[in-house]
């Protein structure tokens, strides 16, 4: 078991009990530092060196507050506000509704749309602010390090904003998916809505949007009125030959139109769901394409450089051929002259 003696164990345990269990292995010597500052101060006083503290204080306070930092911090506080707001209302936003329709924390659709709109405007303003700050950083003439630092700061803020946007888009995707699923499950009976008494496969416990309920109600009312009217008319059929049929026809047409409208509304909702998903994918693709843009630019540069190099190479080769040819001509000439001179000398001698 333990190798140390029993009193060691007790000492160790005492120490653990008395000391707070901090995981810091590093030692905070700030206190030591402050003590050293005091010692140095007293030592300096003893020697007689005084420091002009007041002037420096004023100087420090009036150091120009560069506009960058406070504005960046402002953007961050705004984004945090948005995040808090989204998180606060997240539960209500996403809730699929409860069995009790009297749940007062339920949100209406219009409220949800309002939240969506507000959030989008907010996010847009934030990204505009970031872009603006970036342009300013580019234009301002400061040192390379400060530029790099500010660029990195803006990157951090952008990543933060992206994180918050992801929160929002997740929420929204969940909401849309839920609505689409609901639509699918609670779809009214297709064709022939004029058939009275056809059992409607409506799940009354599910929460419906206001339009849905109203449309249902209207269909129901229409059918009931139709029922009644049919009964009534059946009795008084004799009075008017054309009109009851006409009215019946009109009512049938009415119902048909209503059901068509319903279907169209359903389809529109479906398409909306699909479009949201497609837009998300589109976003991802757009991001990737933008990433590739820089690479393609550089490839373009390289290709342009390569074509120029090839052109120059061609020129060089042409010149070399010319030089070669010229050189050959001179050699030929020289040899011919030599041979002629030989012949001449030979003829001269003999």
């Amino acid at each position: 078991m333990m190798t140390s003696s029993p009193d060691d164990v007790s000492v160790c345990l005492q120490r653990t009990v008395s000391r707070c269990s901090c995981l810091d292995m590093a030692v905070d010597i700030t206190v030591l530092f402050k003590a050293s500052v005091k010692t140095v101060k007293t030592r300096n006083k003893a020697i007689g060196i005084g420091f002009d503290s007041t002037k420096d204080e004023i100087f420090k306070r009036s150091r120009p507050k560069s506009g960058f930092s406070p504005r960046a911090k402002e953007v961050i506080t705004n984004i945090t506000k948005l995040k808090d707001f989204l998180l606060q209302h997240r539960k209500d936003y996403v809730s699929a509704g409860s069995l009790l329709s009297t749940d007062h924390s339920r949100m209406t659709d219009s409220e949800r749309d309002q939240i969506d709109q507000d959030a989008q405007i907010f996010m847009r303003t934030c990204s505009e602010a970031i872009k603006q700050l970036r342009n300013e950083v580019e234009k301002q003439v400061t040192s390379v390090q400060i530029k790099e630092h500010r660029g990195a700061v803006l990157d951090l803020i952008e990543m933060y904003l992206k994180g918050v946007c992801k929160l929002y888009s997740e929420q929204r995707a969940i909401r849309v998916k839920r609505m689409v699923d609901k639509k699918r499950l609670s779809r009214l009976a297709p064709e022939h809505p004029s058939r009275v008494g056809k059992p409607k496969e409506v799940e009354p416990t599910q929460e419906k949007s206001v339009k849905e309920e109203s449309s249902e109600k209207s269909v129901f009312e229409v059918t009931t009125t139709q029922n009644n009217s049919v009964n009534l008319w059946e009795e008084g059929k004799v009075e008017d030959e054309l009109s009851p049929e006409e009215i019946q026809m009109f009512e049938q047409e009415n119902q048909r139109l209503v059901s068509e409208m319903n279907n169209m509304v359903d389809e529109v909702r479906q398409i909306e769901g699909k479009v949201v998903e497609i837009s998300r994918l589109q976003e991802i693709f757009a991001e990737k394409v933008l990433q590739q843009e820089t690479e393609i630019d550089s490839i373009h540069q390289l290709v342009v450089g390569a074509t120029e190099n090839v052109k120059e190479g061609n020129e060089d080769i042409r010149e070399a051929i010319k030089n070669n040819a010229g050189f050959r001509v001179w050699i030929l000439f020289f040899l011919v002259m030599c041979s002629f001179s030989l012949l001449f000398l030979d003829w001269y001698d003999s």
């Binding site: 003696s5 060691d8 901090c22 292995m25 010692t39 930092s69 390090q145 769901g273």
Partner: protein
Amino acid sequence: MATSIREKQTAALKRMLNFNTPPLKNAAAEPVWKVLVYDRFGQDIISPLLSVKELRDMGITLHLLLHSDRDPIPDVPAIYFLMPTEENIDRICQDLRNQLYESYYFNFISAISRSKLEDIASAALAANAVSQVTKVFDQYLNFITLEDDMFILCHQNKELISYHAINRADIQDTDMETIMDTIVDSLFCFFVTLGAVPIIRCPRGNAAEMVAVKLDKKLRENLRDARNSLFTGDGMAAGQFSFQRPLFVLADRNMDMATPLHHTWTYQALIHDVLDFHLNRVMMEEGGATDASSAGARPKKKIKKMYDLTAADRFWQKHKGSPFPEVAESVQEELDTYRAQEDEVKRLKSIMGLEGEDEGAISMLSDNTAKLTSAVSSLPELLEKKRLIDLHTNVATAVLDHIKSRKLDVYFEYEEKLMSKSTLDKSLLDIISDPDAGTPEDKMRLFLIYYITAQQPPSEFDLDQYKKALLDTGCDLSPLTYIKQWKAFTKMAATPANYGNSGVKPMGLFSRVMNTGSQFVMEGVKNLVLKQHNLPVTRILDNLMEMKSHPETDDYRYFDPKMLRGSESSIPRNKNPFQEAIVFVVGGGNYIEYQNLVDYAKGRRVVYGCSELFNASQFIKQLSQLGQK
């Protein structure tokens, strides 16, 4: 201790970078930006553990060297991470005077002395910046962790504590003291970060003993100092009260001189031996650098490439200790899996093309979109995998080129036979005089291993023959002088190290014609199979951990800093085998020993450390310097 030393050090660094408060786990937390200023020591410590991207994620916008030109960046807190040396302190005072940053957090890698603290205090007073100095910390991180279970002391000024510095003939006592102090300081920081007080064992009569005595003293002083002890709180954190203390074995390089010269066959050790590998970073030139035939033609453009071999690279973690042919196969396998996944993604494209006519089936469409989304999101993973495969292909090809040109497999086999004292099938003279087997350095290494492991020294005649052959091939003979001295020295001490019996079974000539995808043609390179054998250091550790009795280790001294009485007794009081051990080699170590320890330590935790990390060529250089004195 469930976490490895690397995780502990990384956690300490992350805490420091978060202004010494524990970092929050909340992913969408507000960003706080800061600037990191370090000196070269700090850079060496941080670079194997945190990548630039991780630094950025933690909010570090700029990371700068202390002794570079830095511009004032107002409104930003600055975190300093440096050693408390004179010049660093001067530069800090200068920074304070120039008012470069808004607030300062000073973190010293090892403990700072009171006088230097007062220097900073007076500079802060002069610049009226005392309120800006927010925090000062002693981080106790003066060591570099390379792997989960391997650490070295320093990389920057390693000549100061190198083998050469410790063993040279003209060393003064004061020099030795400084070297020992540096080593002990780093070891102390290591144990503080680990959070445990070990039991120390060391051999007698060499540098390791001096280190052990000093370390014991330092640990003892710190434990006695009830107010400022560093060993409370952490090691006994909730639920982890381990009665087992780790065993700390100090070894000296002089005990085993053959292993650093040995040619090796495992992946990581090969990279360290053959390529330029420092702090987990490989520097390579690409473009046919080793092709001898291109000497006549215009030299191809050499592109310098740098690769980081990190803990996140799963292939590397799995195969860094495997023999080289296995690595080649595995790279091929990885490439195949990657290709299969790529085809899978491409197939989705065709699916999407056919789909889209079916209106009523929303579910099918949403499935496909879900598939597409998952494929798109898995693309970054695939790209990363491809990058790693490319990296390893390049590195392994470079290593293979070296092996083929220098015939390293022949050397490896021969040296294994020498070290295990089995029969030799070729005479040493043949290999040395063989013109195209390896560089002169390789031959020198082989001969030194022969000389070290020979039971009796070769006769004068043989020795002259060998010397002549070596000189013919262009070797420098000064290492031999030193090794002769060393051999004479150690003969007086214990018996020469026994390298264990091993057998190397070559699987015959292995010629594999690769398919089109692979780039490794291993014809002519023997596929050697390593049999498990124990190097001297591993054997010593085994004896000490398992409390076996062995003439080699019975004589070792025993220190326990926690004991109240500073007894010099060599009787270990613990009769149980240890579960955890830390081995430290004073004078330098290398990856071969590390790999051997890892192979030995199945199920137990063994950490390997050394005062510096050198490969065989660097070691030979140091030996030549020693031999020339």
